[in-house]
């Protein structure tokens, strides 16, 4: 018995069995416009928005992504291209003078099939001082630091975080949003995931169509 046990212990099964039944987490190496289909003007954007002190700027025209570092007073350091369309901080969003409406559609194809831009109130950004969290380190003392910033309440509905329970409950709306940019072009956006394969929250996957032309 004992030698048998010792022999068993020296087998590779020492550290466990059936590793093969699991998937390997994909490494988060590729960020930005990870998929672009020129023919349909659509694609997928994957960004790392895990940091509380980072805005990620997206420009559909040039397929470029820029980031800035946010200070407590709201000032940002970092270069951003002029004509950016959308920016993301954690799950928060802002636009570059644009406006957003939530549609009833739950897929981009459905939206495109509808053949027209939705009617209704397109919501512009609002100035906030209690939205953009930049420091959670004193949360345990009940102190959360916010940076003053623009914020688009309509597009930010794409992910609801219910913090009334611990841990918070995250619910994606699953809806398609239409962003009218400052220069009058339309982008259709859908948040399809807010985590990476290792379940770390703040990795945002956004499917888009830009420009939307009916």
């Amino acid at each position: 018995m004992l030698p048998a046990g010792a022999a068993l212990l020296s087998l590779p099964s020492c550290n466990g069995l059936f590793e093969g039944i699991y998937d390997e987490p994909m490494a988060d190496t590729e960020f930005g416009f990870t998929k672009v289909d020129q023919a349909t003007s659509s694609g997928t954007i994957y960004i790392d928005a895990t940091s509380y002190t980072k805005w990620t700027y997206i420009d559909f025209e040039t397929f470029s992504i820029d980031t800035t570092v946010i200070a407590e007073d709201g000032t940002e350091t970092g270069e951003v291209m002029e004509g950016w369309d959308l920016a993301v901080h954690r799950y928060d969003t802002k636009t570059n003078g644009g406006a957003v409406i939530e549609t009833e559609f739950t897929s981009l194809d459905e939206f495109l099939a509808s053949g027209r831009l939705p009617d209704g109130e397109y919501v512009e950004d609002v100035w906030t001082e209690d939205r953009i969290t930049v420091d959670m380190s004193q949360m345990m003392d009940g102190i959360i630091l916010y940076a003053p910033s623009w914020y688009n309440p309509e597009l930010s509905k794409w992910l609801n975080v219910d913090t009334s329970t611990m841990p918070p409950v995250y619910t994606m709306s699953g809806k398609v949003y239409v962003l009218m940019t400052q220069d009058g072009k339309a982008a259709a956006l859908q948040l399809t995931n807010y985590m990476n394969d290792s379940k770390v929250k703040g990795f945002m996957t956004i499917d888009y169509v830009y420009p939307v032309e009916f």
């Binding site: 466990g16 949360m139 345990m140 009334s164 409950v169 379940k199």
Partner: protein
């Protein structure tokens, strides 16, 4: 059992022919109180190991008794053993009526001393929950069962709706759970996965309160709970069962067992599921997360020679929890083992075993259908135990044993999802001496070694029992400890970008010193016990805000004390009425300013009253069981980073009851109707310690023992 009986018959025949010259023949019938024959009753001559007879199907026996013998002993499982003087034999005839063992006094327990002892004679006060109790409360899982049978046990929710235990001030990592004496790998927020401990194929649950590290090592700080599996006892058996209840709760299970020559096997499978549901009022949690579990286990025993037995076991467990719309938590366990037990002779016994247990956690992400593992705990255990009976009549017992364990832990809570390995070794010895008919003494010592920080710990035990007729008085001093786990030593975990939790490699083991005294009274229709206990607990490990690190860090706490009283009375009368009342008072004294403050309810009680009757083809039992928990008012810290400002928090008292109506319809078909939360307790606010009930609910369950269809009774 049948095989043993057969052997005994052969032996008795051999013995009869051997002693035929100088003996008298006694014959008669053994029956129960209703006059039914009790086949299989073993008849022995007291003071003579070699003479046996076994009652046949008609309850009749014949035994040759040598000259000078004074008593005959009649023994049958489930009945009270009777010693009858040969003076009562008239014309070589002795008819006997055996009474049912209603109070389970002849149940054999093993947890307290690591050797089989009759419950009533066990030198360590042990509480047993039998398979009948399990059926009667129709418990779904171990938590449900323990809460309904024992006061002072509370399962509540920790963060993330993970289940956490409080047993009279001791948490999940201070109460050692065993399955057939084997430890269980894996933990979440300091608690093992209680879902693994389904009650399928559990013959009994033994509970020993108080420190027991002298026999079981780390984690046996506040008590040991040991689930004992049943083996096959029939030539073949097939059971299928199902249960349906509120929130679309479903359970399907089955077992197949057989005995063939030297081989016996038992295979069990079970599937359970329940939907997620919302709580009707607000609270610390708003949704109960549903999910499903399934498990398979196999136990194969082979007895090549009389007294030599090999047991092989294997199990698989799977649980999936609906945490969020896009994520499922998955838990898997693979276990296996091999054990050899050899009764070398009357005095020497040797046991060697190897056990394997792997507990994995993974996240199944629905959007890309990936199942990524982020936690794996793999334990290999090799054990040897040698038991030697000392003294003229083998009345004393000495046990020597040792274990080696390799503990591998990979976790998302380690930096870069890394892993650590620790080797643990221990040796232990115990002497159980029967000083006289009345005095019983146990002394034990164990030494444990943990490789990671070269920690070692000695755990002593000394206990004394005095028996007088139906009374037993026990007193004991025992040591308990819990070594810091790999998680507690090496954690480096970013808690939702809010703060870090750091491990601490310099942790000291938690330790406890336990003093207990008890008085127990056992009679064939009534058992009662009172016990008082005092625990001095030092270096309890918890997370504490560390200013320097700006995060939480595992730290040893200052000493605390837990003391209390347990009272229990139970009765079962021959006409089918039974009742049980148990009460516990617990006082947990923790100094203000410590990071953890007591949340233990001071008073709690469980009660059960039942009535049942059975006829040839029909039987019923109605059981009302409930528990009452007092309110607890405690201080809670208003900040997690300092331990000065507190506010008062009261967790309200509540009581919850369950009615179970069981019917044995026909030959092994049992139908249960259960009304849970009978008096419609609806919490105003769901604290994490509030049960996730939404009011009165009902369930039905059906179980069929197919082999009984073919019984010719």
């Amino acid at each position: 059992m049948k095989r043993i009986i057969f052997l005994l018959v052969v032996l008795s025949l051999a013995a009869q022919s051997l002693f035929a010259s100088a003996s008298v023949t006694v014959t008669g019938a053994v029956r129960d109180s209703r006059g039914e024959p009790l086949s299989g009753t073993v008849v022995t001559v007291v003071g003579n190991d070699r003479l046996y007879a076994v009652a046949g199907d008609d309850g009749r026996y014949t035994i040759s008794v040598p000259d000078g013998a004074a008593m005959l002993r009649f023994h049958l499982l489930g009945y009270l053993t009777q010693d009858i003087s040969l003076e009562k034999v008239k014309d070589n005839l002795l008819n006997v009526v055996l009474e049912e063992d209603l109070m389970n006094l002849e149940t054999v327990v093993v947890t307290g001393t690591r050797t089989p002892r009759l419950l009533k004679e066990s030198p360590i006060l042990t509480r047993v929950i039998t398979d009948l109790d399990i059926q009667r409360v129709d418990a779904l899982n171990i938590g449900d069962l323990l809460e309904s049978e024992l006061p002072g046990i509370e399962f509540s929710y920790a963060m993330d709706q993970q289940v956490t235990l409080n047993m009279q001030g001791f948490g999940g990592n201070s109460v050692l759970f065993l399955v057939d004496g084997e430890r269980i790998a894996g933990e979440t927020l300091d608690n093992i996965d209680y879902n693994r401990l389904n009650l399928d194929n559990v013959q009994r649950v033994e509970i020993v309160k108080g420190a027991a590290s002298s026999l079981y090592g780390s984690n046996a700080v506040g008590g040991v709970i040991n689930l004992i599996s049943a083996g096959a006892t029939e030539p073949w058996s097939v059971n299928v069962n199902a249960r349906y209840g509120a929130h679309n709760e479903q359970r399907y299970g089955g077992s197949v067992g057989f005995q063939a020559g030297k081989l016996n096997s038992m295979t069990n499978a079970q599937y359970t599921s329940i939907d997620s549901y919302s709580m009707p009022s607000e609270g610390d949690y708003s949704t109960f997360y549903g999910g499903y579990n399934w498990s398979v286990k196999e136990r194969l025993q082979y007895e090549p020679l009389d007294g030599l037995k090999f047991t092989a076991r294997a199990g698989y467990f799977f649980r999936e929890r609906d945490l969020q719309s896009d994520t499922r938590d998955r838990y898997r366990d693979f276990s296996g083992g091999l054990r050899g037990e050899w009764d070398i002779n009357d005095r020497n016994r040797l046991e060697l075993s190897y056990g394997f247990d792997q507990y994995d956690k993974s996240d199944y992400l629905l959007f890309n259908e990936t199942d990524v593992r982020d936690y794996s705990n793999v334990q290999h255990v090799v054990r040897g135990v040698y038991t030697y009976s000392l003294g003229k009549e083998g009345q004393h017992t000495m046990i020597l044993g040792g274990d080696y364990m390799r503990d591998y832990l990979m976790s998302y809570q380690f930096e870069g999802n890394g892993y650590y390995v620790q080797h643990t070794a221990d040796v232990f010895g115990q002497i159980e001496a029967k000083l006289s008919e009345r005095w019983h003494l146990i002394g034990g010592l164990r030494y444990d070694f943990f490789s990671q920080k070269r920690l070692s710990h000695f755990s002593p035990k000394l206990s004394l029992m005095y028996s007088l007729k139906n009374w037993s008085f026990r007193g004991s001093y025992s040591g308990g400890f819990r070594a810091p786990t790999l998680k507690e030593m090496y954690m480096s975990f970013d808690m939702a970008s809010i703060f870090m939790i750091y491990g601490n490699p310099d942790l000291e083991p938690e330790s406890s010193e336990n003093l207990s005294v008890s008085a127990e009274y056992n009679w064939k229709y009534l058992s009662a016990s009172v016990s008082g206990f005092y625990n001095f607990v030092d270096n309890r490990i918890t997370t504490v805000w560390n200013e320097e690190l700006g995060g939480m860090m595992y730290t040893n706490m200052s000493p605390l004390q837990v003391r209390g009283v347990d009272v229990s009375v139970s009765t079962r009368l021959p006409f089918g009425l039974g009742a049980r009342l148990a009460y516990t008072f617990t006082d947990e004294a923790i100094r203000a300013g410590e990071p953890l403050l007591s949340q233990t309810r001071p008073h709690s009680a469980t009660a059960r009253i039942e009535y049942g009757k059975s006829w040839k083809n029909y039987g019923f039992n109605v059981a009302l069981s409930g528990r009452v928990l007092s309110a607890v008012t405690t201080e809670v810290y208003t900040s997690a980073t300092n331990y000065e400002d507190t506010e008062t928090q009261t967790y309200p008292a509540y009581t919850i009851w369950k009615l179970t109506v069981s019917q044995d319809i026909w030959r092994g078909i049992q139908l249960n109707v259960i009304v849970d939360n009978l008096f419609n307790y609806r919490p105003d606010y769901y604290y994490s310690s509030t049960p996730s009930t939404v009011g009165t609910t009902a369930a039905v369950s059906l179980s069929m023992n197919i082999e009984e269809f073919f019984n010719k009774k």
